[in-house]
């Protein structure tokens, strides 16, 4: 009796989880599949996951005046070459790397000393300051986007890397996360460093930083994913200069550049943009989960 009940329970748990996994994975499945197929296969919804990979003719190549024999290729090759040829995808990705990495580094430079002060130093008003940090967590970005934009416009920084980076340099989430982690670092360790002759500044960078690597990694993934994928803010501040576009924004320009039914190259471009994040996440997965569970955030 009991065995049957537990079997049913397991079955139920697993079916819910599998259903959830399908919902999450289906868009990625379609993205990958479309990036492999020829336009006609996408339209008629045939060819399974990979498509038949029959040699097809590149219609644009023909329009451009080339002989038809020179414009024959497999759909997968066509999709991915088109993705890189039709838009400066590499440039967009380099922009993305530069912006996300800069944001993360500055966030760490700001958040670590703040978190250290909020967790380990005693000063008047500390609890009030921490209350403010928590309060700032509640403010959605969109609520302050307009004032931020106006400020940046007034100082003439729109359409620049600075506009993409500066608004994100102070991460209250980062301060909060690191503060929670630092609370678990024993005070004795800091006192020992003080006895050894370290200044408060060196304690932050030579003692706290190395012990906080798992938490930093967790924060790093949150930060990099959020800003790599961010569409809203770059759309607001990058209005003219296509050279400054980040991948999601580039993707949009990409779409309007293309004919409406060129899903193949577009999905190929999307795959290329998503891939770095997936790879980083898989590499850091174990320590990432360590980092979140350790700080008690799930």
């Amino acid at each position: 009796m009991e065995l049957k009940a537990s079997w049913l329970g397991e079955f139920f748990k697993h079916s819910v989880l599998i259903a959830g996994a399908i919902v999450v994975l289906l868009p990625f499945y379609l993205m990958l599949s479309y990036s492999l197929k020829s336009p006609s296969e996408i339209e008629t919804n045939t060819g399974g996951f990979t498509g038949a990979q029959q040699i097809m003719t590149d219609s644009r190549c023909v329009k451009a005046g080339n002989a038809e024999e020179d414009c024959l290729m497999r759909p997968i090759v066509y999709n991915y070459t088109a993705a890189f040829k039709e838009a400066p995808l590499v440039r967009y990705m380099l922009n993305g790397v530069f912006v996300t990495v800069s944001i993360f580094i500055i966030q760490v430079i700001v958040a670590l000393p703040c978190a250290y002060a909020l967790s380990k130093l005693k000063f008047w008003g500390r609890d009030v300051v921490f209350g403010l940090v928590i309060f700032c967590l509640l403010i959605p970005v969109h609520a302050i986007a307009l004032p931020l934009y106006i400020m940046l416009a007034k100082v003439g920084l729109t359409n620049s890397y600075a506009a993409l980076i500066i608004p994100w340099t102070i991460s209250v989430f980062g301060i909060f996360l690191m503060r929670q982690f630092f609370m678990t670092v024993p005070d004795d360790l800091i006192d020992a460093a003080r006895m050894d002759g370290m200044s408060e500044f060196s304690i932050v960078w030579q003692v706290m930083l190395p012990t906080a690597i798992p938490a930093l990694l967790a924060f790093g993934i949150f930060s990099v994913v959020a800003h790599w994928n961010d569409y809203y803010w770059p759309r607001v501040v990058i209005t003219g200069n296509k050279d400054l576009m980040t991948p999601p924004l580039g993707l949009r320009m990409f779409k309007s550049d293309m004919d409406g039914n060129e899903y193949g190259p577009m999905m190929a471009a999307t795959t290329v943009i998503v891939l770095p994040l997936v790879i980083i996440f898989l590499m850091a997965q174990r320590r990432f989960i360590e980092g979140i569970t350790m700080t008690g955030m799930k």
């Binding site: 024993p186 004795d188 360790l189 006192d191 020992a192 460093a193 003080r194 006895m195 050894d196 002759g197 370290m198 003692v207 190395p210 012990t211």
Partner: protein
């Protein structure tokens, strides 16, 4: 090497007072133990000496000069923490050289990569390395130098923490319950090693513990603290034999000293549990008293007069000694007697046991717990 003096040191957090007027004179090369129950202020005292905390009033002197405003690292003291507080991301070797690098290298020489170009750095580093090597040899931790603290056992970490203090060759060692994270047998072993180390280094040791046995075994002098007061300061024997306060009497010694209620009448005769005690007081006024007797000073008596009696409730056999726990009809207080196993053989649980003590072993305390000068008359 230096003596350390505390003069009228107090510490208060807001209206809560943690230390009341601590005066302490620690001689050069002395092993002084601050002992007391948790929350008595002993760790705070140590941290004030270290400079990790500032006193509310009073002065701290090291080697005769006042250090109230001096940063912890400039006081030339080394501290060993209960949790060892080793840098978890550095190897044992790096843990040991860190305090020396911070002390001996200039800021420029410590800069990564660039620092290596400074002319003096190589010479200084080789001196530092030989210092570390010397300490590692003394503590027998050479095979561990390349490991990280996470890969060490409790005892090994303890040694590394000691080593990190020793490399600096400081004026004094401050130790904050360094043995309490070790298991019982290792703790006893390390007690002996610490005493030996103290003899070898001839340095000043200030040692904080809540374990009265550690205090008694290792120290030159013990300072017993309670509720922020320094109750008694003296050599272990003196504190044990001659406690000036009932709290000291109860805290030092295991098992605890027996405390019996007594009453003194106007003539100065003392009545304790219905028995007259042959102890003379100078001050012959009517007052209630407490009589303290160590378990080893109580002897079994076979029904003689002027002896106490109680029902045996528990026999604690330690092999070499037997502790007899007696119910003497008081709710709050049981009496413990230390006897030889042979003497205790015949006693059965539930038996009525008679016992007494030589009057000169009685310690008399007044109603406030202060010791009263009293003389026992003869033997009973």
């Amino acid at each position: 090497m230096a003596g350390i003096t505390l003069q009228g040191v107090t510490k208060a957090y807001g209206s809560q007072s943690v230390l009341n007027d601590i005066n302490l004179d620690i001689a050069d090369g002395e092993f002084l133990t601050l002992v007391g129950p948790s929350g008595c202020g002993k760790s705070t005292t140590l941290r004030i000496i270290a400079g990790l905390e500032t006193q509310s009033t009073g002065d701290v002197f090291i080697d005769g000069s006042i250090v109230n405003e001096t940063r912890p690292s400039k006081r030339d003291l080394a501290m060993v923490f209960q949790s060892y507080a080793l840098y978890p991301h550095l190897t044992v070797h790096q843990n040991l050289i860190t305090p020396l690098k911070l002390r001996d290298l200039t800021a420029l020489e410590r800069v990564p990569l660039f620092g290596h170009l400074m002319p003096e750095r190589g010479k200084k580093m080789s001196i530092i390395s030989s210092e570390v090597q010397k300490v590692a040899e003394i503590l027998k931790i050479e095979p561990l130098l390349d490991r990280k603290p996470g890969q060490l056992s409790g005892g090994q970490r303890q040694r590394v923490a000691l080593g990190r203090a020793m490399v600096r060759n400081p004026a004094a060692f401050l130790m904050d319950e360094p043995l309490s994270n070790l298991d019982a047998s290792l703790r006893v072993h390390m007690r002996a090693e610490l005493s030996e180390l103290h003899r070898e280094l001839k340095a000043t040791f200030i040692y904080v513990t809540h374990d009265q046995a550690e205090a008694l075994t290792m120290s030159d002098r013990i300072a017993v603290m309670m509720d922020g007061d320094l109750l008694q300061l003296g050599p272990p024997d003196e504190v044990y034999e001659d406690p000036t306060d009932i709290r000291v009497a109860e805290f030092i010694g295991s098992p605890k000293m027996n405390i019996l209620p007594a009453i003194c009448d106007e003539k100065g005769s003392i009545n304790c549990l219905g028995q007259k005690i042959k102890v003379a007081l100078k001050d012959k006024t009517k007052q209630s008293l407490s009589i303290g007797i160590r378990p080893e000073h109580l002897v079994l008596q076979s029904g003689a007069k002027s002896s106490f009696s109680g029902l045996l409730t528990y026999k604690e056999n330690l092999g070499s000694d037997v502790f007899l726990h007696l119910d003497i009809g008081l709710e709050t207080q049981k009496v413990v007697i230390r006897t030889d196993p042979q003497d205790a053989n015949s006693a059965k649980i539930g038996d009525k046991i008679s016992f007494g003590a030589s009057p000169n072993k009685y310690l008399v305390f007044d109603a406030n717990g202060k010791r009263i000068d009293a003389r026992g008359r003869g033997n009973s």
